[in-house]
């Protein structure tokens, strides 16, 4: 899987929209355009002072620009002080960004169909995958879950109008799409698969840990390939502090692996759930 070497750049904020909304979308100009693998992330800071001290991990949502002038986009939800400070930054102000980081989704096997599952802000790592697959005209379906319709990503953010993929929306309160948890929909669909479909399917999932767990367990039982994007608190984001480890299977023993380096995307079978 191609992993371009991380760099540390200063980004000049071009837009930071979503004041008051649940999801913010921030766009920054960076020195050079960036190629990244969906699921890879960046460490982002830029607020003044040393409190909070550490940068925050955000999935790479979109990149663009041309030689000598790159652009990068993130979407984020305000859950605490760091994201609150991000949401208060204005165009023209700067971000410190280390990117691209970690191992993204493996989309490179030929002849597979994909299910992309995003819970909550998890869509931030599956949309980029959808964009890649759309460009390839590779078949996929997308399942997006949220508490309410407001917690779903704004329609206009959903990638590729002419995408070959179909998107299923689920809300726990039934205010949009299927009334229930996205997990239920995905599990139900898994159970209905033909052996042949099972063999060709790869599930990519990002979201709350228990959502990932339910999907992973079901997928393992049915022999479906699944890749999950995990989260953890991070200090460095590029593998030097060993702070972000999760427990993985290493044969019949377990080992601690870094989410920021060996992950954030892991094969569902590797994870000790």
């Amino acid at each position: 899987m191609p992993v371009n070497r991380p760099r540390f750049v200063t980004g000049r904020i071009l837009r930071n929209e979503g004041r008051g909304e649940i999801f913010y979308r921030i766009e920054a100009a960076i020195p050079e355009p960036l190629r990244f693998v969906p699921g890879q992330f960046a460490m982002v800071s830029g607020w003044p002072g040393n409190d909070p001290l550490l940068p925050r991990p955000l999935a790479l949502f979109r990149s663009g620009g041309m030689r000598g002038q790159g652009k990068i986009e993130f979407v984020y939800k305000v859950v605490g002080r760091g994201t609150a400070l991000l949401s208060g930054l204005h165009p023209g102000e700067t971000l410190s960004i280390t990117l691209p980081l970690g191992r993204g989704f493996d989309l490179d096997q030929a002849g597979r169909t994909y299910w992309l599952v995003g819970g909550g802000v998890g869509f931030s790592s599956v949309f980029p995958a959808a964009a890649v697959l759309s460009r390839r005209r590779n078949g996929f379906e997308m399942f997006l879950g949220a508490r309410t319709r407001e917690h779903l990503p704004p329609k206009q953010w959903t990638p590729g109008g002419k995408t070959p993929g179909r998107t299923h929306f689920c809300t726990e309160d039934g205010t949009a799409g299927y009334h229930g948890r996205v997990t239920d929909v995905v599990l139900e669909r898994m159970r209905a698969l033909s052996p042949e479909a099972v063999s060709r399917l790869t599930i990519l999932a990002c979201g709350p840990r228990d959502m990932l767990k339910e999907i992973a367990v079901e997928a393992m039982q049915r022999g479906i390939t699944a890749q999950v994007a995990l989260e953890n608190h991070m200090a460095c984001g590029f593998g030097v502090c060993w702070g972000c480890v999760v427990t993985l299977w290493d044969g019949d023993r377990t080992a601690y692996r870094r989410v920021c380096r060996e992950g954030p995307v892991f094969d569902a079978k590797e994870v000790v759930w």
């Binding site: 070497r5 991380p6 760099r7 540390f8 800071s45 002072g49 040393n50 409190d51 909070p52 001290l53 550490l54 940068p55 410190s96 280390t98 953890n232 608190h233 991070m234 200090a235 460095c236 984001g237 590029f238 593998g239 030097v240 502090c241 060993w242 702070g243 972000c244 480890v245 999760v246 427990t247 080992a255 601690y256």
Partner: protein, 309 residues
């Protein structure tokens, strides 16, 4: 004006400048080669090494605190053999001056690691972590008393001809006494401070934030304590003192040099700014130029304190 001479002698190891990376915050050094040429640093100090590979503590290893962070990594590392086999050759290729930070559960383990590393010609020095707060046995025990430090230092001293640095714990009442003990037992330099033992809990879940319950506090929050201890140690010993703790900028690094440090180590700052070490190095150079300071020794220890009544 000619470029200032920033070189320093750190207990037998000559470094081209006083900016070193702090153990455990710089991986094995290789990770930083995508950000800059690590041979520019005075030295790269790698993650603490034990005899066998170590798994470390369960997840729940770090938590952010005001202007700082707590860590309880538990010294996860690949062990001395893999370090020598896989990492050393690459550090040599990159032309880096590198130092091994070592750790043992017993004095015997410290000795064994030191002995093995002494066989590596390109290794610049050995830094004994006599102060890791995040492992149940060893570590802290050795670091807490002058006797403990003297005993450990003397034993490791016998096992290596490499420059021997002893890294001190700040969790003591009298850092000067501890530093003297290390000097007396044959340390070529002392480095301080390691992290201060701290704790964080979640008042809603009623659980500790760290699987190890307590962890080591690092970052800007501890700088005033680190600076004070560096000053006290530098006054107490003749061997070089390497200052560590909360250094984020060249201004911070200069503060440590001013109170008597021969060099500094940059730790937590590497996380927010992977280029922190070179930024600090360039800042020191610029300051020396601007102030027309020819060499490090013209500035080091130059703190002016009025005689107190």
């Amino acid at each position: 004006m000619v470029t200032p001479d920033l070189s320093a002698s750190l207990g037998g190891l000559r470094v081209k400048n006083p900016v070193l990376s702090a153990s455990g915050t710089f991986g094995y050094g290789i990770e930083f080669t995508s950000f800059y040429d690590i041979s520019r640093l005075g030295a790269v100090i790698v993650k603490g090494l034990s005899l066998a590979p170590t798994a470390g503590n369960p997840p729940g290893r770090i938590v952010e605190t005001p202007a700082g962070m707590l860590n309880a990594i538990g010294l996860q590392n690949i062990g001395v053999e893999r370090f020598i086999g896989d990492v050393v050759p690459r550090l040599e290729d990159f032309g880096a001056t590198f130092v091994a930070n070592i750790y043992g559960k017993t004095e015997e383990e410290y000795e064994a690691v030191a002995r093995r590393l002494s066989e590596v010609p390109s290794l610049g020095a050995i830094e004994v972590n006599a102060s890791c707060p995040n492992v149940r046995e060893g570590g802290m025990a050795f670091g807490a008393t002058p006797e403990g430090i003297a005993g450990l230092t003397a034993r490791v001293r016998k096992c290596t001809g490499k420059p021997l640095w002893v890294k001190l714990s700040p969790n003591v009442a009298d850092i000067a006494g501890i530093a003297k003990a290390a000097e007396g037992a044959g340390a070529d330099a002392v480095s301080l401070i390691n992290t201060i033992v701290g704790m964080a809990v979640n008042y809603r879940t009623r659980r500790p934030e760290l699987s190890n319950v307590t962890g080591g506090l690092s970052g800007p929050a501890i700088k005033p304590v680190a600076l004070r201890m560096t000053w006290e140690a530098a006054k107490a010993v003749r061997i070089p003192v390497i200052g560590i703790g909360g250094i984020q900028s060249s201004a911070n690094a200069l503060e440590f040099l001013l109170v008597g440090a021969s060099a500094v180590q940059v730790g937590t700052a590497n996380f927010r700014n992977p280029r922190a070490c070179v930024d600090i190095l360039e800042g020191i150079e610029a300051f020396f130029r601007e102030e027309k300071i020819a060499k490090l020794s013209d500035y080091r220890g130059g703190l002016m304190v009025e005689k107190n009544p």
